[in-house]
Symmetry: C2
Subunit: 291 residues, 2 copies
Amino acid sequence: MNIGFIGLGVMGRPMAEHLIAAGHTLALHRVKDPSRHLVEQGGKSLGSARAVAEASDVIILMLPDTPDVETVLFGPDGVAEGLSRGKLVIDMSSISPVATKDFAGRIEALGCDYLDAPVSGGDVGAKNAALTIMVGGKRAVFDKALPLLQLMGKNITLVGDNGDGQTAKVANQIIVGLNIAAVAEALLFASKAGADPAKVREALMGGFAASRVLEVHGERMVKRTFDPGFRIRLHRKDLSLAVDAAKALNIALPNAAATQQLMNAAIARGDGDRDHSALIQTLEALAGDPG
Amino acid sequence: MNIGFIGLGVMGRPMAEHLIAAGHTLALHRVKDPSRHLVEQGGKSLGSARAVAEASDVIILMLPDTPDVETVLFGPDGVAEGLSRGKLVIDMSSISPVATKDFAGRIEALGCDYLDAPVSGGDVGAKNAALTIMVGGKRAVFDKALPLLQLMGKNITLVGDNGDGQTAKVANQIIVGLNIAAVAEALLFASKAGADPAKVREALMGGFAASRVLEVHGERMVKRTFDPGFRIRLHRKDLSLAVDAAKALNIALPNAAATQQLMNAAIARGDGDRDHSALIQTLEALAGDPG
């Protein structure tokens, strides 16, 4: 199949590799040095998002944030200018659910289909084609796209209509971020109260406090290994999506807002490119610890 | 063995039953109607905590809060007045770690041993002798008490010195409370953004958002079943221990504090005796929902 792929970063690059490896023809845009091998493997490097859309039946986006997706889709020489009836746009970026509903409507008005399909699982999940993919869109469009998504991920759920995939991703990032804050506050408390945080974590693993975050990020906090992983800078972006949407929807998300503030402080102290488990260091700094 | 047991509430009653069933002789205090059968089964009902301590080699407390433990231990006709060298006090209540260190020191000054051994697992865990027990104290004292603790619990950890069991319990309650707030904020967000919270929860179960709370309390939120379980009123007490200790230790626990505030609001709207998963209803009320 002719597939366009725009956004060849840490996540997009291995995802595009899986599509090429499965025999698909890829049209690419903005190919930089780390992605040069994709061209050697048969990918075509084109000069605009419009050209990618013209050359492809399915156009996949994997971009940093909402404005990037808007520009690539609807800016000058963008995807929308190259679309024709029956083509499919799959946005796998993590962006605003509200903007997504708007983007989907504008793409559908051109006679095309749209899926939002953000992922979780990080660069390791992308490399191992083991991403969790949360999809919003029509059932028939999802069924059509599923064989492609299965080349990149494993746990693939149609959550609902357009925007609902992004909503699920934001919900995911709320829970992961707040669970990290929970474990960080608990282990800091344990340590300052004079207990061994490693022993406390062990004692808690079998009970109601059990979580993937206590297991994985709790261990990073205890062992002081803060290499990403998932960068605080990116998680702050995701919590900003939550807090911005909360304002648009007039709902109060006090813990998401407090955790976003902590991430601001983490970035201020130079931890933006560390793993999100490094949030415990911000709490430690607030408690007077150097470091 | 001659065991004293003071605090025959929802938790203490089934715990005392397991000790009697294993052949131990129990001295009891403040036996009320729901515990009358313990006397029929051989328990001796005595007139004071002092009398219980005089009659027992090991005295177990299972009381609501720090002041209750202080009164029973050191008040008039309290346990301390009935102790003699070599006896053991095991406080299984969930109380202040800081106060616990003080209590332990005062009991040890009488030539006796002290363990703090708070539990998690709720009334179901108590009935099934499947409590998680987090212990603080000396290794030799822990080893001596272990056969008794094994009659009431399964996952039994010596976390460290006196106070560290209570510290682990507070850490547990921080994580559980904040994970509940996380799931509540995420599912409220999903619902208000137009997605089906049940589908969103499903999509998230396999990834980094996975937790016992997403599994158990998330299901209660989706199914709207808020019977306790564990009452918001009691969880607020536990978060108050965290927030009070944070003040004593000069550490900032912003999410624990925010969640404690939400629990205040939950109790204000009449949800104090509902399960802590009902915290989502407080967020819903803040978002303009009736109910």
